[in-house]
């Protein structure tokens, strides 16, 4: 790839075009490989497709652009703290609507940091919840019989099934 290219264009799975800076794209291994293999200069018309829908890709690119400076050059503790706060705001989203999409995209794009963040967000959502609340939020059907539930209750008396 020509070193003069600062941003590249990629297509989402719905066919929309998105721009991402080269430094941000380097956060993803597949995108990084793409940077080496695909021609991104002005005289090439090949636009690679990322198998992530537009709504998710917007968020993924936003994450990459924010994290790229720290990943590429390192940062002070105060920057890291600020980035942590930004991550919390960034992940305030509806589970069903987009969290799973972000998770799958992070997995597909080999983005360990985003994958871990999605995991932590899902874990934070569950903090202190009852079994019924978790079932509701993740649409899980209870397939335990009442006898099995009773047995589990006896095994770990500290936890409720409510």
């Amino acid at each position: 790839m020509s070193s003069s290219v600062e941003a590249i264009t990629v297509l989402s799975s719905d066919g929309d075009e998105f721009k991402i800076t080269v430094s941000a794209a380097k956060l993803s291994k597949p995108l990084n490989w793409m940077l080496e293999d695909v021609c991104f200069s002005d005289d090439c018309d090949e636009v690679p497709t990322i198998e992530v829908n537009s709504k998710t890709l917007v968020k993924v690119i936003e994450y990459c652009e924010k994290h790229a400076p720290r990943a590429n050059s390192g940062a002070s503790d105060s920057d890291a703290e600020e980035l942590k706060k930004w991550d919390i705001e960034f992940m305030k989203m509806d589970v069903k609507d987009i969290l799973f999409h972000i998770l799958m995209a992070a997995n597909y794009l080999h983005m360990e940091g985003l994958y871990d963040l999605a995991c932590q967000t899902a874990a934070d959502l569950m903090k202190g919840m009852t079994v019924s609340q978790i079932r509701k939020i993740f649409h899980i059907k209870n397939d335990f019989s009442s006898e099995e539930q009773e047995q589990l209750r006896r095994q770990h008396p500290g936890c409720s099934f409510d």
């Binding site: 799975s13 992530v52 799958m104 903090k127 919840m129 649409h139």
Partner: protein, 402 residues
């Protein structure tokens, strides 16, 4: 005969090829449809569609009470929770201690709050905690029974009483110097090793019937299991001996780490040396320097050494954002990112207990090289730091009863 065999072979081959080919063509058609739709159809519709490693990671990010709630949502999650390898929980390190009246085991938080651990095992009198490791406690009841207990998973293994270790004199099992255990990937113990009060080595294989004792010319003060071998620190602190252990618990000395230079350049005795292995497979040697204050021996400083090439020790200033839990008999290292957010704990700390009187315990910060002494709990004894962990179900030959 040859033709008959060939025909049978062709018929058999044909029978097998046909359905495979059809299935393959069908898969190809589906893949084409998927690409045509450009529909990123890997997006999960519910939590069961997400990769299994994500669900395992999700469990690891939860505290153990949240893990239990999540596991009880449905059979699939329950089965995943109790069978996943390397189970972890996001928790706070516990400082646990025993009380005599009534006999109980308690964990202590933030210097002031005590929670009684309601396991039946602790209702015996004459209890003694030999060591704690990876969520397991090695508990000694009088001289008749020794058990390994995982409080959270409610499981235990009976060990032969230490009094049955052949060739150990009674006095040397009163105060065990060090305790170590090796684990399978489901965090069930495979093997236990102890250093007796006189510096001799004792080994027990889970599923076995008796302890194997090794009385060598060299005496030891600490040990750990590392890369399928046992590492033991000599009493003189000048060398760490590396042993291979065979199926009959016989030891073969296969190498050594020379510590003489480290000790020569270190502060003068008294000190204690501990071996700890982190999750990234690094072996550390931690030196705890001590000083007599009146009649009490207290920790004053710590030095950390990391092994390079399995032979050399290099002094380091940091624990790579990890926390070492040190007790006289046992030590382990945990990742700070596995801990629940707390104002009490941070990375690069050594949480320690020192001495026989059980009232010297504190937290050493490698960042500013200071010790924060914790309020003494004089009514408690056998104080140990531990990091609570579940043990998963395991079907290996050492753990048939799981």
């Amino acid at each position: 005969m040859g033709a008959a065999i060939s025909l049978q072979f062709i018929l058999a081959t044909g029978i097998w090829i046909f359905p495979v080919e059809v299935a393959w063509m069908e898969a190809l058609k589906q893949e084409e449809l998927r690409i045509d739709k450009r529909s990123f159809d890997l997006i999960p519709k519910d939590i069961f569609d997400v990769p299994i490693d994500f669900l395992e990671l999700l469990f690891d990010h939860l505290s153990f009470t949240d893990q239990l709630q999540f596991a009880r949502c449905c059979k699939y999650l329950y089965s995943l929770a109790i069978r996943r390898p390397y189970p972890k929980a996001r928790e706070t390190p516990w400082l646990i201690g025993l009380t005599e009246d009534p006999p109980s085991c308690e964990r202590i938080y933030n210097q002031v709050t005590c929670y009684q651990i309601g396991a039946k095992s602790f209702e015996h009198s004459h209890l003694h905690i030999i060591g704690s490791f990876k969520g397991w406690l090695c508990v000694h009841y009088g001289y008749n029974l020794t058990q390994l207990i995982n409080i959270l998973s409610n499981v235990h293994y009976d060990l032969p009483p230490l009094s049955t270790v052949k060739n150990f004199v009674p006095s040397e099992i009163k105060h065990i110097r060090a305790f170590g255990a090796s684990f399978c990937r489901f965090m069930r113990p495979n093997m236990i090793a102890i250093v007796s009060g006189l510096g001799n080595l004792g080994l027990f294989k889970i599923g076995g019937s008796k302890w194997k004792c090794h009385i060598r010319k060299e005496k030891y003060v600490n040990l750990t299991f590392y890369k399928v071998k046992m590492y033991a620190v000599r009493k003189e602190f000048n060398q760490v001996d590396i042993f291979e252990i065979d199926d009959n618990l016989e030891l073969s000395l296969v190498g050594a780490i020379d510590c003489s230079e480290v000790i020569r350049n270190s502060l003068p005795p008294p000190f204690q040396a501990y071996l700890v292995v982190d999750s990234k497979d690094n072996l550390f040697l931690v030196l705890q320097h001590r000083k007599m204050f009146g009649s009490v021996l207290m920790a004053i400083e710590f030095e950390i050494f990391k092994t390079r090439d399995g032979k050399h020790l290099v002094k380091v200033d940091t624990l790579d954002d990890q926390i070492v839990l040190l007790s006289d008999t046992c030590s382990e290292i945990i990742d700070f990112k596995d801990c629940l957010p707390s104002t009490f704990f941070e990375g690069n700390q050594i949480c320690f207990t020192t001495g026989e009187f059980d009232h010297d315990f504190g937290i050493y910060s490698c960042n500013d090289e200071t010790i924060r002494w914790l309020m003494p709990f004089r009514e408690m004894y056998c104080l140990h730091w531990m990091f609570p962990r579940f043990a998963s179900q395991c079907t290996c030959e050492s753990h048939p009863a799981c």
